[in-house]
């Protein structure tokens, strides 16, 4: 008799069976730990200038060499993790907060309120992010807080659309009708039923969004418009390494790889979440 077996396809069982997803998860976990324990894990003080030791290639004492000011690249990279994750998470949180509020109100209220809000979303989406980013930075000066705020303010629209779509369909579900019949207030319906059930796709979008936010921060820092030295960020390590482009590969490759691997890990985990949610 023919017997066919198939690997587990549903829910979080997939984490066990998909090595790529598991690896991405481990990477993120490692990064989180690194960000928290950087002060203890880093071999050197990332701000410690030592011109005598400038531009040293990787060696036993400096695993990733030193930068033009003699600072240990590995330590700077580790501290840079804090910046990247912080910016990513806070920027996305701002986007999720604003987007959820707008989307939930639009989806629930419907009618003119919905139309007005969604047209506003469309306008914001049509606006080129780069110009907005650069303009605000030019006006307020480059700083980590400005970046977080601006990335969040340019990213909430996608979340708003997602939440609106979810709320629109959830609104008609019988459990929502049931709560209305019981006399639940609008606030209660939104906060206890609609928004919690809408969070699935938002979580996926947020995870993917963190990856995007990290990329944006790195780009801005690379351009000198983001995190300002001496504070280390993967982007500005790259920027400072430009002067020694042909000679010191250890200033380019490690931060570049760090950005690549981190963003990729977020994307893979985000996709994995999307699949896991789909099969629930």
């Amino acid at each position: 008799m023919t017997k066919i077996r198939v690997r587990p396809q549903s829910g979080f069982g997939r984490l066990g069976s998909d090595p790529v997803l598991a690896a991405a998860g481990l990477v993120l976990a490692g990064l989180a730990l690194l960000a928290v324990f950087a002060p203890w894990a880093a071999p050197y003080d990332p701000l410690d200038v030592n011109l005598a030791q400038a531009l040293l290639p990787p060696s036993g004492s400096h695993w990733l060499g030193t930068d033009p000011l003699g600072r240990d690249v590995l330590s700077r990279l580790m501290f840079g993790t804090r910046i990247s994750l912080l910016v990513g998470l806070i920027a996305v949180s701002v986007a999720v907060l604003i987007g959820t509020a707008v989307g939930a109100v639009a989806g629930f209220a419907g009618g003119r309120v919905d139309t007005v809000l969604m047209r506003a979303v469309d306008v914001m989406l049509a606006f080129p992010d780069i110009f907005l980013l650069l303009t605000v930075i030019a006006m307020l000066g480059p700083s980590i807080y400005v970046i977080m705020a601006v990335i969040g303010l340019t990213g909430w629209m996608g979340v708003a659309r997602l939440v609106r779509a979810e709320v629109l369909s959830l609104k008609e579900r019988e459990f929502v009708q049931a709560s209305r019949t019981l006399g639940a207030s609008t606030w209660r319906l939104l906060t206890r039923h609609l928004i919690p059930n809408a969070m699935g796709p938002v979580l996926v979008a947020a995870t993917l969004g963190v990856g995007g936010a990290i990329l944006t921060e790195s780009a801005l820092s690379f351009l000198g418009l983001g995190v300002q030295p001496p504070e280390p960020s993967w982007g500005n390590i790259l920027n400072e390494g430009r002067v020694a482009l042909g000679v010191a590969w250890w200033l380019i490759v490690p931060p570049g790889l760090a950005i690549l691997i981190t963003v990729l890990a977020f994307y893979i985990v985000g996709e994995g979440l999307r699949d896991a949610l789909r099969r629930r």
Partner: protein
């Protein structure tokens, strides 16, 4: 069980076990029953009894994580041991299915005529003009008015009851040895249900169809079926001719089904 030449379908010790998530979940266990030539056998049971699983298992229409064991003898030949091409020919051809929801079984982008013709050309030797004429013929057989004109209509232009009649036409156009109807009228309005069942009964009697009817509605069983097989939690617990089983149920599951029928307190003429 001996190979019974007189029976059109003989299911022998059919078992289906799902192997998802590392656990083995038995859905159907050692079910055996027969369907004779020209006979209507009803497969009844509550939800979870496994009756729909049995219907799909006959031609291996279950998902890949389902292990199917046993023998399914159609006109003496074991379908479960057949090659993949032979199995594909059997599906829709020798064993035709009518499911509960016509909306999901009918292709919304093809006209009814095109779908009918496809069935005919795939499973019979009629082609072109002959296939088209046969399509018109079948639409008429299931009681669709102006069949010639309706060939060019799309599924969504038909009501639910009419769609289900089209499904029946498509199933029968393939000239199957066995028709398997899985809750064919459950999704329809009650007045429409009566019409479709009337068509089904009339066709069965006139063409001598062999039918495996899966339903939870015992009233349908009484009106259409000759024999009934009662399933409970994956096993066939009682079988026999309808009148006897309903009058003297032996298994508690059968009794439970009979007791659960909401009775209409009939008190006089109706209809």
């Amino acid at each position: 069980m001996r190979s019974d030449g007189a029976n059109l379908l003989a299911v022998d010790q059919l078992s289906v076990t799902y192997t998802g998530r590392g656990a083995r979940t038995p859905a159907v266990r050692n079910v055996s029953f027969t369907v004779g030539q020209g006979e209507v056998v009803a497969l009844v049971g509550g939800s979870g009894s496994g009756k729909s699983t049995v219907a799909l298992a006959l031609t291996r229409l279950l998902p890949p994580d389902a292990e199917v064991e046993g023998r399914v003898l159609l006109e003496g030949e074991d379908l479960l041991a057949a090659s993949e091409p032979a199995l594909r020919r059997a599906r829709g051809g020798r064993i035709a299915y009518v499911f509960q929801d016509p909306a999901t079984s009918l292709n919304p982008v093809l006209t009814v005529g095109e779908q009918l013709r496809e069935m005919i050309e795939q499973h019979t030797d009629q082609r072109g003009r002959a296939a088209r004429d046969a399509s018109v013929e079948w639409l008429g057989q299931v009681g669709i008015p102006e069949p010639e004109r309706r060939l060019g209509a799309y599924p969504h232009e038909f009501s639910g009851g009419m769609q289900q009649r089209v499904m029946i036409a498509m199933a029968l156009a393939a000239r199957p040895a066995l028709l398997v109807a899985d809750e064919p009228t459950t999704a329809l309005d009650v007045t429409v249900q009566v019409q479709v069942l009337r068509v089904l009964r009339e066709l069965q009697q006139r063409l001598g169809l062999s039918v495996l009817l899966i339903t939870h509605d015992l009233l349908i069983v009484e009106r259409l079926a000759h024999r009934v097989v009662v399933m409970d939690r994956g096993e066939a617990v009682e079988a026999g001719d309808v009148a006897t089983v309903f009058a003297q149920p032996r298994h508690p599951a059968t009794r439970l089904l009979l007791e659960s029928r909401p009775a209409l307190p009939l008190g006089g003429a109706h209809g």
